[in-house]
Point group: C2
């Protein structure tokens, strides 16, 4: 079998337009936010949309997503996970486009305003999301469901909070996700029992006069926590 023949094996097969769309979540220590963009090109120019683009021939789809995220937020190495492909033949009324959706969790305090402004972007709180183009509303819904599910077994909150965060901040994040109040004593007790945080001596006084101690996430300890077979659920 000659490998070189292979280039011809797939001739005659139809090819497709392939895009990525990113659902970008943030958290401002009060509520979960969504980053949306005004579409800059026809068709549907000016409508609110997820950030997206056609994929590049020299990049994997994930790399394409990373690149568009970098361009539009100035952030590298963000938390990025595949959500789902959207491929109904008429989802784009003009021409068939297959879109692979990714969701991303970013630190709202770190994104670059310049990039965001250049792309005509805006943070929306989840209950004030405007109408979105195409099936982007469905993508968002699916992403929220997935995020909620994922939160049950993975410490996603640390990707949204600043590198140094307080326990009350983290609790508010979980309250947003689960959409219910949590008991602060029980929350703190369980969280600290996991022994995956590093306490600092600094306090954050932005949200109280007494101030709350700042912590960092300890990836190493978390890894061995998981390796020991325990499950992360708050």
């Amino acid at each position: 079998m000659k490998l070189l023949d292979k280039a011809h094996m797939y001739e005659g097969q139809e090819k497709f337009l392939v895009a990525v769309d990113c659902i970008v979540f943030g958290f401002d220590s009060k509520e979960i936010k969504l980053l949306l963009f005004r579409r800059r090109v026809e068709p549907l120019k000016g409508k609110w949309s997820l950030i997206g683009s056609f994929i590049k021939d020299y990049l994997s789809i994930e790399e394409s997503a990373k690149q568009i995220l970098y361009e539009s937020t100035g952030l590298k190495d963000v938390y990025l996970r595949e959500l789902k492909t959207y491929s109904t033949i008429d989802r784009d009324p003009g021409e068939r486009v297959i879109s692979v959706a990714y969701y991303s969790l970013i630190r709202i305090d770190e994104y670059k305003i310049e990039s965001v402004e250049k792309y005509d972007a805006h943070w929306f709180s989840l209950d004030e999301v405007p109408e979105l183009i195409l099936d982007h509303g469905q993508m968002l819904e699916d992403a929220i469901t997935k995020l909620r599910l994922k939160t049950k077994y993975e410490p996603v909150g640390f990707n949204l909070l600043p590198e140094k965060f307080t326990i009350p901040q983290l609790q508010i994040f979980y309250e947003c996700i689960y959409q219910k109040k949590l008991d602060n004593r029980n929350f703190r007790k369980k969280l600290l029992s996991f022994d995956i945080l590093i306490k600092s001596n600094e306090k954050d006084k932005l949200s109280s006069k007494k101030g709350a101690f700042l912590y960092r996430f300890n990836q190493k300890k978390f890894d061995s926590f998981i390796a020991s077979g325990r499950s992360f659920e708050l």
Copy 2:
């Protein structure tokens, strides 16, 4: 804005070959099995591979997956879920092909031997899987991880067992997934406490002289079980 203009908006954008691959799981009341196919076309003809094909221009990717599954196993309406897209630019050494992987759970007693033979297929137990083409080994690994995770909150076992099954059969499935022995008293107690099974008067005597009662899954009761906010974990 004229909608008809849109057909031209995407001109000049590169198009890609898009395929689906299906990881097909079965369960023979002893162990979890994987359905593999000998590739019928060059390149790599004769090698073991997941079942797959290029997608159709008149079908969504999921529909394409359903169709190839129907052709190769004779089964319709099977449990089918998207796994992940595989899109590194050199994953297929001949030409760039983007593949969307799906995993499927089928009743090993229901698939059509004719279709399977026509496609040169074979059931392998998970620890005797031969080397697979391209990144199909990676796909399988990812699918097993996902299946294991999914089992924790969804009753996937019922899709693999025959329509009428015994509690010991179901327990063996969970023992396979979790890779550990379970206590039969605790298993039975918890399972029955969910009240989502219908007991029949028939017994299955294939695996014991005493015989074990056959049960069916009650989808309606399961739906209200979930609606009541409880979580399915065995």
